[in-house]
Amino acid sequence: MILVVLISILFLGGVLAWLSEGLDARFPRVVALAAVVIDLLLMLTLVGAEAGDSSWIVSLNAQWMPRFGVSFHLAADGLSVLMMLLTAFLGAIAIGAAWSEITERAGFFYFNLLWTLAGVIGVFTALDLFLFFFFWEVMLIPMYFIIAIWGHENKNYAAMKFFIFTQVTGMLMLVSILVLAYFHYVQFGWFSFDYFDLLKVNTSSSIEMWIMLGFFVAFSTKLPSFPFHSWLPDAHSQAPTAGSVILAGVLLKTGAYGLIRFAIPLFPAASQQFAPVAMTLAVISILYCAKVAFAQTDIKRLIAYTSVSHMGFVLLGIYAWNEQALQGAVMTMLAHGLSAAALFMLAGGLQHRIHTRNMDDMGGFWAKVPRMSFVALFFSIAALGMPGLGNFVGEFLALLGAFKTNITLTVFAAFGLIFASVYSLWVIQKVFHGAYRNTDFDDSHLSDLSRREMFYFGAMMFGLVWMGMYPQSFLDLSAETLGLLLNETDPVVSAVVR
């Protein structure tokens, strides 16, 4: 029941935020923040909860469309809880980022923000594939509005591209889901979209590969991975800061979550055969997008490409499919969620102050805005994988796990860490070091981070240090889920490997 409450609070909070705009223009953000914080607190009650005999801490199953065996099946285990916590935490951060930036039509903005979050929570808890697809699409529309209304100069193009990429690949996934449900119908005599029912379906190997590809395309577009990544730089550079935070911090993770929860457990054999291809794509993402990031002058596009590069480690870890690699993937998801969100907030903050994202115009900001420069240095170093911070733990574990399955690819992937240092430090040097220059923009609004902003960045820094210094508290949460998934797929996987 608590899961329904979590989702409804966000849906209703969104409506309330929109309506409250009529009373006072400042109400929507307060309402939105309240809704997200209540959600976050409720989620914390799930963290220590005993799972009982299964790994599912809470679950709820009700009939929805009996004609096709579609049920309203929500459940959460350690992995879901971890992802939900990230969602709510970054949701609160995003509201902070929008606090003073979004002044026009704020009510509708927070409505969209909360509905996106509600859709994401739904994705992380749905255990009926129809319901999963339902939420998968529900989170798109409000995100489209966020980019299309509050975005920057080229917002129409970016919003449209984002929507069409994710929607079309989503439809391929829908076809795959339907084929799987139909196989269930053929083998068992009734329709079911339930995760546990579909796990039992036997698919012949040639078809299995096609169905799996439907899922893979949808998830790897969202992740995103080469060659489906091209929507991301556009969407990020045009989205308002809060939109970027949600997009990079949360929405991308739904793709990785989908791979871990659905794509591989439902089709273990096909995934195992496909793993070398997926891992190669991951390595291409890591190296190619790191290279492309280095060539950008638009600071938001640069961060967007680094996102693709870092998510490559996640993809690599997932398809290595062993305990360290999976733990690494999950850890990278969390850490990258925080570090990318923070970097986008910094870029958004800069753009808000000086109205440009062009790095060629910037230089020597350290003297002018020391606090902001320090924060930027911290998160750049986190992103490049400095030991002691969360990203290092994640990427190191992912590489360690991947090394067991594919040495060559892992060796190449490891170069990504070096590339990451190059572009991260290059940005710091270009924007913050050197002589201050303000010839190309009006710097009258270039002020240092406010106390409120410092609070948000402080919270994220704390998170990253915690993940880096004591990752066990996060690893424990997801360990049971991942262990079970590995156990279930083990017979099939080892048969294929042999």
Binding site: Q63, W64, M65, P66, R67, F68, R105, F130, F133, F134, E137, V138, L140, I141, Y144, F145, A148, I149, N156, A159, M160, F163, I164, Q167, V168, M171, L172, L174, V175, L178, V179, A181, Y182
Partner: protein
Amino acid sequence: MTFDDLLPLMPLLIVTATSVLTMLMIGIRRSYLTTGTITIAGLLAATIVAALMMDWTNQQITPLLIIDQYSLLFTVVVCSAAMFIAILSFPYFFELDDHREEFYLLLSIATIGAIVMVSSNHFVSAILGLETLSMSLYGMVAYPLHSKHSAKYPLEASVKYLVLSAAASGFILFGMALVYAQTGTLSFASLVELPGAENSLGENYSVIALLMITAGMAFKLSLAPFHMWTPDVYEGSPMPATTYLATIGKAAMFVVLLRFIEITEALSFESIVTVLTLIATASILAGNLLALLQDNLKRILAYSSIAHMGYLLIAIIASHYATGTIGIEAVTFYLIAYVIMSLGAFGVASVISCSEKEFDAVSDYRGLFWRNPWLSCIFIAMLLSLAGIPLTVGFIGKFYIFLSGVESGLWMLLAVLVLGSGIGLYYYLRIVYRMLMPERETMAYRIGGVESVSSYGVLAILLILLLLFGVYPAPIMSIVATASSFI
């Protein structure tokens, strides 16, 4: 024909009585409000009666009409849609500088035709219903003819529709004659197991007959390559007539096509399957691609309707291969969904337009979201539904079609469907984006007076239906499933 036979015909009789009453009313005293009220009340009564009859009526009334759950379901759809259009047309024609009352007469007569069509399993009733519907539509399309500053090309649209539609009817009639030569009966009957096989003309004649009928019907449904008339007629007609043509006209014709194809087992002929597959592919691609090039809302919706008819054809083809009635259910559900979302989309355009000035350019909708949020929310919901996005009935409809396609293994058509839907997103979102843009200058939208209040009510009902069937479709699914078993 006994009194017991008359009872199942109640919805038809009520609508007929309504049109007679409307006609007499106009003769006695011209009153726009009274005529409108009579029509709306009559259609409402027919809707309610048909809905109440659904559970216990299953009867062949003379060889011409079949009154079963399926025909009653669509009688409900047709009558309620006609009622909504009647309500929407009230403010639209309110300021027309001409006789306004006869539009309701034409509307109710057209509805008689549509009811006959959805209840027919006989060539005579099918063609009678079709012609009654089409004849009234010619009048409706050309209605604001004498108006001084009205829509630009009603006459052109009407004549175009008349000529091409008559040609299509000719095809259908010729095809029917050939079928009659084969089967010896004017009732829909299987063409596969012919009673006097030794006397029949041979299979090729059956195929030719089916092709001619399919071509004629494809014309009425505006399936590619018989779609050329659609955008022009949509654009030229006054908004309520376009709405009628796009919703009831299409739905009634599709029900006839469905019954015809199912009963004659037309899909047992390989060549017919091939032809339908080609038509579906061409419609989806042509409709979606050509819609990209349009700047006029009515034309966009016209091309999108071509694509939607193509989607429906996939489900018809699937009904032949799939086990059970999933194909028929898919057609049924999608038709209902299509009627709801088209009514809503055209309804919004009707509400801000009137017979003197239509707002049908996409650029007219710039900033509507900030000017009139509720109206534009309804419009956005309808467009997203047409695009097949969850939370709306359009998604469940698309889900049905995907499922029927998967069950039948129609992979090629499914790929076309995915591609078409992807292209479709672009032009639907383009309209949505226009509405979200900041207002440029104050648009001279008609500010509805008291007469528009009921139109907003209709739009609200449509929005509720759209979301209800999209989020909790279980009840309507079971109705559709039961009704489909009667085909």
